[in-house]
């Protein structure tokens, strides 16, 4: 298994976003106060990573897990007026 570290930020301010719904291959975690959450994923697999916030554009990516620790940055744009 490998560690997939997802850090969620506001795309404009670069501030980390806590309490964001984050998903990797169907497993759901919430980002901590540092905007980060860590998934255990199979090494060598490509996983679908999603971040969802009620006020930001949805973020979805295919992430190949090619090392024992993979770091992903999800930068979210504002979606509401």
């Amino acid at each position: 298994m490998a560690k997939l570290v997802v850090t969620v930020r506001d795309a404009i301010t670069r501030a980390v976003l806590p309490y964001i719904h984050t998903e990797a291959d169907g497993v759901v975690l919430t980002t901590g106060l540092d905007g980060t959450c860590v998934f255990e994923v199979p090494l060598g697999k490509t996983v679908i990573v999603k971040a969802r916030s009620p006020i930001h554009r949805p973020w979805s990516r295919s992430v190949p897990v090619t090392a024992e620790r993979v770091e992903v940055s999800a930068d979210l744009e504002k979606a509401i007026f």
Binding site: A11, I12, I48, K50, R52, I55, R57, P58, S60, E77, K78, A79, I80, F81
Partner: protein
């Protein structure tokens, strides 16, 4: 007939609503109307008040941008907003639409109609933008269902229908078009990775839009 389109360009996602306003301008002109456009930084109260005074024959005010419960903000984030509860008297006898715009139907809507606007259409909740994602151009869908509202409204007014009839039909047409896209997104939940979010966004854009008629 004449319309005023106010399309600020400050803070995301107004870069998208500004592009939507470009399309709206074409739609309205397509009905033979004259359009007075307030572009980006022109969306200050001073300019907006001047345009209202200079064009008393503009029957429709369309605002696409950031708003609060009490104001269309325009580019005045540190100010009063271009149309707010303290200057709604300036928009008497107009049909006012805040779409897409957040929250404006909470206070600004009823205040406008009470002050003499013929009608106000907006949302009592936040409104969402949609983007062009790899699996689907949700942006085009958002343009389509929003323009469905305006096309219906302007078409009915052009045909001489009453404001009440025009607004009610436009809201109904808009909701039906939103529902069409919601059904589409729902059917693709397993294959379109962002369809869950846009289903929610489309539902919120549909369910909280209300109209007030004098």
């Amino acid at each position: 007939m004449k319309a005023i389109i106010a399309s600020p360009f400050i803070f995301p996602p107004t870069q998208l609503s500004y592009a939507l306003a470009d399309e709206l301008e074409k739609v309205i002109r397509g009905f033979g109307w004259t359009v007075v456009r307030l572009h980006g930084p022109q969306n200050l109260r001073l300019f907006f008040s001047y345009v209202l005074a200079a064009h008393p024959d503009a029957v429709l005010i369309a605002y696409l941008g950031h708003a609060s419960a009490t104001a269309f903000m325009g580019e005045e984030f540190a100010g009063l907003g271009i149309l707010a509860v303290d200057n709604v008297n300036d928009a008497r006898e107009r049909v006012i639409v805040g779409m897409p715009a957040c929250l404006s139907a909470r206070v600004l809507g009823p205040s406008s109609v009470k002050a003499g606007a013929k009608a106000f259409v907006g949302s009592v909740e936040e409104m969402y933008a949609q983007w062009n994602e790899p699996e689907r151009n949700y942006l085009a869908d958002w343009f389509d269902y929003t323009l469905t509202f305006y096309r219906s409204l302007v078409g009915s007014l052009t045909a001489g229908k009453s404001v009440q009839e025009s607004v009610e039909k436009a809201v109904n047409d808009y909701r039906a078009r939103c529902t069409y896209y919601m059904d589409l997104y729902k059917s693709k939940l397993e294959t379109w990775p962002n369809s869950d979010f846009y289903y929610m966004a489309c539902r919120q854009n549909r369910d909280y839009v209300v109209g007030f008629i004098r």
